[in-house]
Symmetry: C2
Subunit: 353 residues, 2 copies
């Protein structure tokens, strides 16, 4: 039976990417050797790393003066690298708290100095995105989470102002057009729209190197990785390769403009069903709804057994909501075809029959 | 043509492991989904992580009171995690400097406090292992590099004493019997004997948690990862899975005792050729020779073109020495069959014809 994979991450990747990745594990580039058993300093792997970086620059129109890094440790490691690299001794960091991942980032920043929360949607269970807040003039940087996987909310606009801007785009990078020049550090765990788990994309403005004035351990220093072209130490070869393949796939699909249009259509199909189907209620505030993670609950919990059975029969996988929200979460990343969303919509309609 | 992969790392993995890994990228456990697109919290992946940890414990006879972690960031990240977790404010760390990787570890420790080098073989280009040195009583820990990939030397014994002991076993873990109870932290990048690049094995004595007294960022805190069973954040799914497969392969081969015997035979075959063939000279001191990385040079550089051609014709790959040593380096990790070493020996003999 065909599976429809709505997993929140690690999550669906394009079939053609998985096929190529599977082949490379046996024989890479016709070398007679596996991708994962060659030197990362070989010309074949250096070409992978170079191509992955070039694709990020091309797809996101990264301006001059930024470095594209493929690191390890996930967004959780960036939670500490951001303050290590940007927060001065005695300085102040500002955070917008839009959910569990923002809260974790705030917790780590506090180890490095004063960390203020300039806006939070915790009062309403993170069901909306705060707006209209002020960013103090004396902060070293302000940090955002662009998309909140658990709650299904997404920042549609980012505030201006002079503070350095750091954004965790783990769950919506490459899904929509962004203006990289608005930001000083963009980071994203690969395992949503970019590839398998095990690598973290960081796009960092070279001008911020040395900002914190701290002595930074080499592996936590953006400048060290930028200087070494992400090859300061052995990179995570397979995750970087699969990310490269996924970015090639995205380029062939027409790039960010094309995928954003498709993502809008996919999200509209599902949100329209939620809004028109009396059995379901959306979780997030309408104007802040995520195009990546669609959160909803049953209006009548007694229908849970029926809906779960219908979903399972249809081959739908990974739609259980996070334990802190409950209900359902359909993650509809780039690689998710609209046909799979239609299958989910059909199951939602069946509940009423 | 069959390739004989002597790469120093990422390096050769068993063919049956690569085949299984390749299949799992398409369909894992018959789920109809790829290994890399399912949730790391799914029961299928939790079983992988549990099994990988159990295999480490079984193969290395890890005693009670130790945690087995699969982290990210390579040995280079452990260079800073070791002092962060063990070096007290105002305390002192001791290092044995046996080569490039020790030196890098020392450099990172210096960011955290006084770091003394109690012994070094730098005076002779790291061609031997220092012995008979004293470990001061007032150090927080002493750090060793068990095998020096670049220079082809290996610690055959570790000194006793009361200091906490930290060892980088990146390039010889699982190749020989070790007494885990001798150590407080053992770490190893996967990409030699355990799997592909992208995960780091850490075996840590639970009693050392909190030793440094420092406020440690979550991702750098051994205690945090131990408490979360290596699932504090999204683990590097593919590298952990392939490591599990490789450890299963090792268990089927008969475990550490069996592989150590084979490794001794493999190394003896190659070192005997180096010692008996007038065209070649070994680099490392005989008593300190590594069973994993065999370093040698030509006695007569004019034979280089001939030997390189013979090696290439035989399908030998990855034997160029590191730029800091020159000559040749044959890495003969667990997955390297003795037949491939015989092919290399044959090419070495052909040089004289």
């Amino acid at each position: 039976m065909k599976k429809h994979n709505f997993s929140a991450g690690p999550s669906i990747l394009p079939q053609e990417v998985l096929k190529q990745a599977s082949e490379a594990v046996i024989d890479f580039n016709g070398l007679g050797l596996s991708l994962v058993e060659i030197s990362h300093r070989s010309k074949d792997f250096i070409a992978v790393m170079d191509n992955a970086q070039a694709l990020v620059k091309e797809l996101l129109e990264v301006p001059e003066g930024y470095s594209v890094l493929f690191l390890q440790g996930g967004a959780s490691t960036e939670f500490l690298m951001a303050p290590y690299n940007l927060l001065t001794e005695g300085g102040k960091a500002a955070y917008v708290d839009t959910g569990a991942w923002s809260s974790k980032a705030i917790k780590e920043a506090k180890n490095f100095g004063e960390t203020i929360v300039v806006a939070s949607s915790k009062d309403k269970g993170y069901s909306y995105i705060p707006k209209g807040y002020d960013i103090p003039n004396d902060v070293d940087y302000i940090h955002f989470t662009s998309n909140n996987t658990i709650f299904g909310t997404q920042l549609k606009e980012f505030p201006g102002g002079n503070a350095l801007k750091v954004v965790d785009m783990s769950s919506d990078i490459f899904s929509r057009k962004i203006d990289v020049s608005q930001f000083d550090v963009i980071y994203a765990g690969a395992q949503k729209n970019m590839g398998p788990s095990g690598t973290t994309l960081v796009i960092v403005k070279d001008a911020i190197f040395g900002t914190s004035g701290r002595t930074i351990p080499s592996m936590l220093d953006y400048a060290v990785h930028a200087k070494a072209g992400s090859m300061f130490n052995t990179p995570p070869v397979f995750p970087v390769y699969v990310s490269m393949l996924t970015l090639e796939w995205l380029k062939e699909k027409g790039g960010i403009d094309a995928i954003e249009k498709i993502n809008n259509e996919k999200a509209a199909l599902l949100y329209n069903e939620i809004d028109s189907n009396p059995s379901f209620v959306g979780f997030a505030a309408k104007e802040d709804r995520s195009n990546m993670n669609v959160t909803f609950t049953l209006a009548d919990e007694s229908k849970k057994e029926k809906f779960d059975a219908l979903a399972a029969e249809a081959g739908i996988s990974g739609i259980n909501g996070h334990r802190s929200v409950g209900g359902y979460r359909a993650s509809i990343y780039n690689a998710m075809p609209i046909e799979s969303i239609q299958v989910l919509v059909n199951a939602m309609q069946e509940v009423n029959k």
